[in-house]
Point group: C2
Chain length 235, copies 2
Amino acid sequence: MERSMMKRMKDCRDCEDCDSKQPLFKFLTPENYELLNKDRFVVGFKKGELVYKQGTSFTHVIYLISGLVKLYMETRNRNLIIRISKPMEFIGGPGMYTSERHQNSAMALSNVCACFININSFKEVVRTNSLLSEELLKLISVKGQQVFDRLMSISHKQAPGLVAEALLYFSEQIYNSTSFDLNLSRQEFGDFCGMTKESAIRVLKDLKEEGIIKVDEEHFEIFDIPALRRISEIG
Amino acid sequence: MERSMMKRMKDCRDCEDCDSKQPLFKFLTPENYELLNKDRFVVGFKKGELVYKQGTSFTHVIYLISGLVKLYMETRNRNLIIRISKPMEFIGGPGMYTSERHQNSAMALSNVCACFININSFKEVVRTNSLLSEELLKLISVKGQQVFDRLMSISHKQAPGLVAEALLYFSEQIYNSTSFDLNLSRQEFGDFCGMTKESAIRVLKDLKEEGIIKVDEEHFEIFDIPALRRISEIG
DNA sequence: GGTTTCTATTGATCCTTATCAATCAAAACG
DNA sequence: CGTTTTGATTGATAAGGATCAATAGAAACC
C-alpha cells in the first residue's frame, strides 16, 4: 500500500476531523458523528480490485477517500461504465433506498482508499437530520440528472460526439487538466463511450489526425477544447 | 372538459380527503395538509397540451390526478420520451432539487387533470417531516434506477428488443392489459423506443407477421407475452 | 531468454438502422 | 364535396458501427 494511503487511513480516526470531509457532512451534529463513527471502517483496494459487485447486499455507504473508481453495469453482451467516481464522493448508486442490493459494480482504477459507513447508521442520521436529508435529496437528484443527460447522449449522438464528450468529461470533471494519464484500458474507454473498443480507437485516430488531440498509450493531451466541444454538440 | 374530470376537480377541495391520494401522503400531519392546501390548485389539460416545458421555472410539484402524460427531452435532432406518467404519480423530474428548472417537457396524452402544489410549501413539508422525506428519497431513487435501466437498454439492445420492451411496458405498467389503445402516434412510439418511426413500424410489422401481436391503428393486442419477453431479453 | 498472454491497432466485411422518397388513407378545411 | 393536410406504411439506398480476423508490441511467466 502507498505511503499516502497509509497516512490517510491513520489520520482517519474521527469523521469530524477527516481530511477528506464531504461537503454534506458540515450539516452533521456531534451525535451524528458519533453514530457514524461507531461502525465505520476504512479499506484499501489495489487497482483492478472489485469494491462491490452488482447484485450483492447494500450494507454500507461507501465514501471514496482517495483514488478513482469506475461504476459500471454488466449485461450479457457488454458493460456500460456509468461514471467515474473521484475522492469525496459517495459511491453505491441508487440501490441504497430501493432494493437493498447494489444495482451496479464498482472497480478500483487505481489504488483506492474508501470509508465504509454502516447503512443503518447512515439512514438513521439522514432520518433525524433534515438539513442533511435535503442535501442528500439534492445530491441524488443531481446524479439522476446526469444519468438523464447520459441517456440523451448515448441514444442520439454518434461515435465522434460520444468520444468528444468522454474526453471533455475526463479533462474537465476527472483530471482537471488538458493533459492526463487515463486510468482506463481502451476496452473500458469504449465501455464508457457506449461503443466497441475498435470504434473508439478509430475515432481517437481521426481526432489525432485532425490535430485536436495527442494520444500516446495511456497519456492523453487535448490541444483544441473548442473543437471537441463543437463535435460533442453536433453529435 | 369531461364530466369525470369535472367531478374530480369539484371533489378536490382538501388533499386529506382526495380521491386520488398518493401513498406518500399517508405520512402527512394535519399541519402539513394545511400548508399544502393553501396554495394548491387543479388544472385540466386537453390532449396534446403542454403541461410544462423544458427550461421553464420549477414552481410547482405537479401531481397527476387523471389521464396520461408523456415526459420527454428535446434536442436539436430528435426527442426521447423518458416515460409515461399515470395517475397518482408526481411529474416534474429531478429538476425540483437541482436547477429550479424543468429538465424535461410534459405533454398530455389524453385529457388530464393535475394538481399543482407550491414548490416551497412542498419542500417545507419535506423538510419538517422525516418520514415523508425518507419516502421521497426512496421514490426518487426508484425513478433514478429506472433511468439507469433505460440507459442500459437503449445503449445495448437493438430495435426488436427495444420495441418488445416498450410493448411490455405499456401492457404491464401503463394499461394493465394485453389489449389496449395506445395514446401515442407512431412518431411518439418511435421516440419512446429511441428509434425512428419507420424502424419502429417495421419491427411491429415483423411481430405481427410472427403472430406475436395484432395492431390495428391505435389498438394493440398482445398474443404471446413470453415471446416478447424473450425478444426483449436477448436484445 | 524464450514462450505465452494480453492489449492495442488496423483492415475487410456485414448487419442494422437512418434517411429519403413515394404512396395511401384518413382527417381537416374551405 | 373537392382540396389540402397529416399520419402511416413501404421500398430503395446509404451511412454508421459491429464483428471478425490478422498483426504487432508489451507485459507476464516459466
